[in-house]
Symmetry: C2
Subunit: 480 residues, 2 copies
């Protein structure tokens, strides 16, 4: 008699055939109804116990949080809320859970704050909210792979430890196996990294893009999906020091193709969640509704969670050049009434979160792709436009989330790229391999980066990025 998962039992027909199921007790009502959950779905299966047929001592151990194995038959449910239930013939206690101790944890059956859940991150996946979020995270991850593989992309594992620090030097974590108290020194008193494990100073990657470009120049269409790191001291609800990033890179794609790819990709992944995670989305949608009840009417969302997801799938992302966006912002009410913290006065200004939110949430009321940014505020590797002032960059902005994608067409011209590196003080020998790509059969190519946790935030409707990754790493926090 093989043990079955609750997700498949709930889809079965009543049958006299005996079944076995294992899980954790979520509730035990009236010494009669056990709500059992095994994590395969947010739904519990109801196990009906005839308490006269069982030892009192055994039933006493059926407490919230305990693990049990149940034997019985699937019958039509007499109660509401489920089609079938288990008529229990045998109970085995696998692992007890002392009610006095459970009381001190988030497993106790009452409402806990998200902050409290974060402190017990090793147990929080046993709550409905986190079970739902993490199942969604898993399904979304798979949708990412499925989309790219179906479309002929090759998955590439870019390195995590890198000896190259061309990007974001100050914000990187150092990786070392040297004795931190007595590191070997050079004659000038600096640390002698030639004696370190990798023979040079090395860091955790901030992006796999440059390496992904090397593979796009051979395999054509590639993507990465791996962890990236920022040693940035920002304690916000949108930043993590360790987060997972998706970076497709495509040979022969220009910026317009790149926008098409980003839009098509995001829509596919969101549709996958709508199609495959109905129960979890329903739960999270209701959770949001409850949460919003405590807000004033004006701050409540006009759409439910699933309506918001459908809206993204059903509508085109608005494509707006940076120059147009600046005009819109200049003429906007909050700019004229000086409500923006940073007023938009002239072309060239870097857009702040408040401006992005205005464009997306107030002006266009849909996802927006901004493109052709001033060269001065963007990275060295972006393709310079013929105007000499703007680069073929694009950002995808989402309601409630802000920037979810940042990408560009890459500078494919050897001389232009070399000049830009010089202007920005990037030593050529550091990136000679990157320049090589422009020497041997260079071509137009483009790509983008999508912060996976921001996508999970959007799809789950959660408010804090620490609640969409199992063990968040932030300033002062690397627990578990």
């Amino acid at each position: 008699m093989q043990s079955k998962e609750i997700i498949s039992l709930l889809q079965s027909e009543p049958s006299m055939h005996p079944i076995t199921v294992s899980g954790w007790v979520r509730a035990f009502r009236s010494n009669r109804f056990i709500a059992l959950n095994d994590g395969s779905t947010i739904k519990n299966i109801q196990c009906v116990v005839d308490f006269e047929k069982f030892e009192e001592d055994l039933l006493k151990k059926v407490t919230v949080g305990s693990a049990i194995q149940v034997e019985g038959t699937l019958v039509e449910s007499q109660g509401q809320g489920q089609a079938i239930e288990i008529q229990v013939s045998k109970i085995d206690i696998l692992g007890e859970a002392d009610p006095e101790e459970v009381k001190l944890t988030i497993l106790s059956p009452k409402r806990h704050t998200l902050e409290k859940l974060r402190e017990q991150a090793h147990l929080r996946v046993r709550t409905n909210t986190f079970g739902a979020v993490m199942r969604l995270r898993s399904k979304l991850s798979f949708a990412v792979h499925e989309y790219f593989q179906k479309n002929g992309f090759y998955y590439m594992h870019t390195p995590i430890v890198t000896g190259s620090d061309a990007e974001g030097a100050g914000e990187m974590f150092r990786v070392s196996a040297l004795d931190p108290k007595n590191p070997p020194l050079n004659e000038d008193g600096t640390i002698d990294y030639s004696q370190d494990f990798f023979g040079k100073e090395s860091n955790l990657t901030v992006s796999g893009q440059l390496e992904a470009e090397t593979y796009a120049m051979g395999l054509g269409k590639v993507y990465t999906f791996g962890p990236t790191f920022r040693a940035e001291n920002s304690n916000t609800s949108r930043h993590l020091a360790e987060f997972w990033m998706i970076e497709p890179e495509v040979a022969f794609n220009d910026l317009a193709d790149n926008m098409d790819l980003a839009e098509d990709f995001i829509k596919y992944v969101i549709k996958y969640a709508l199609d495959n995670c109905q129960d979890d989305l329903e739960f999270l949608e209701n959770r949001l509704l409850q949460e919003e009840k405590s807000k004033p009417q004006t701050e409540r969302s006009e759409m439910s969670l699933r309506e918001k997801l459908s809206f993204v799938i059903d509508n085109n992302f608005m494509r707006v050049s940076y120059t147009e966006a600046i005009e819109i912002l200049k003429r906007s009410k909050p700019n004229k009434k000086k409500k923006f913290k940073y007023l938009i006065e002239e072309w060239g200004a870097d857009l702040q979160s408040e401006h992005e939110r205005f464009l997306v949430e107030k002006h266009f009321k849909c996802p927006v792709i901004l493109f052709d940014y001033p060269a001065k505020i963007k990275a060295f590797y972006m393709r310079l436009n013929e105007d000499g002032n703007t680069v073929r960059a694009m950002d995808v902005l989402f309601p409630g989330i802000g920037e979810i994608v940042g990408g560009s067409q890459r500078e494919e011209r050897y001389d232009v790229l070399k000049q830009k590196m010089e202007d920005m003080g990037i030593p050529e020998e550091e990136l000679s391999w990157y320049l090589d790509l422009r020497k041997f059969g260079t071509c137009v190519h483009s790509g983008f980066g999508l912060g996976f946790e921001r996508l999970v935030l959007f799809v789950t409707g959660m408010g804090n990025i620490r609640d969409v990754i199992p063990y968040p790493r932030t300033p002062g926090n690397a627990e578990f």
Copy 2:
């Protein structure tokens, strides 16, 4: 007229409909036949040029390594080796490749050693061998996800930076954002890590297992697939400092279930490669055949690459207890004739690579699962058997590769685990969260770790682990 990928063109019927294709020139014979590759497949498409219709200056730029865009029509091929070819009407040079400079690189059309290719790792994916290996790596990665998702597992991203050093302390890389020259010190002269980014000493993970266990206790069936790190100074063809690991963890699974899972999983993934990567496998198989020709007959493999893969799929893995294995080894010829470097004299000995290879390659001649190892040579978290001497550990051993999987049933009993941690000097406060799992509804559970690169080695038939990952990290090497 949309540009098409070569993999789909090669499956198309001849047609007068004009097509466009972009790629890199692999060869240009007789000023007439361009072999064009775009990375979508190992196969080139033949582009036939009527040189009288093109400028000489243009054709001069069609050199090995250059990127071109070709317009034309798909016609039935007159030559051998391909069903269709392109009758070219237009050529655009996208990026030249100076033949004098190409000569100095591995792009030049001659045989280069794998060592040489490693030095130019940013270009090696443009060779047939590495294109094939990396496409296979991508397909195998997807097969991993597909297997687990189809079977109801949830993908979990375990943390990369960890403040817990319960496992393999000495072999970890430190992660820090402190000034390495002037780190803040405590009064006793030790480094004050409370001032570091994460507020404590932190390292790169060596395994996501313990965290995966926390999620298995909530979601039931989970798996990880992410990078792991070892600061081990081993310069061998089987070790990397940064490698990708797959770690499933399943609630309610015992050791026998765990073995079933490992075997079923490995077979699925290998079958996926056989079904989906025929061209690349054919190329790698021939490559191996060529390589073996230089070996004496006795050292050549009895099976071709694909025969070896099919053999694994079609046969049961042999399940042998450690105790039986010791008996076999004791009685073996190399032990009696003292050919082993480490002679097997008594029960309790740790098995070396030479012993594993004897069992797999000489004695059983098939993949072997060894189980029930002596407790003394295994980790603290493995389930103690009733005999008090052995633990429910298992290793899957593969021909030519050695250990490809290491797993166990986990110790689910609070008191036994706590005692073991004490015996092994692991401070309880370090792992109180891990002990908690045994306090609140503990249950039998099991899992394993599979080093992804070892699997890629086996499937591609490559000999060195540095050649199956884009940018290998090893002692003294973190280039690119």
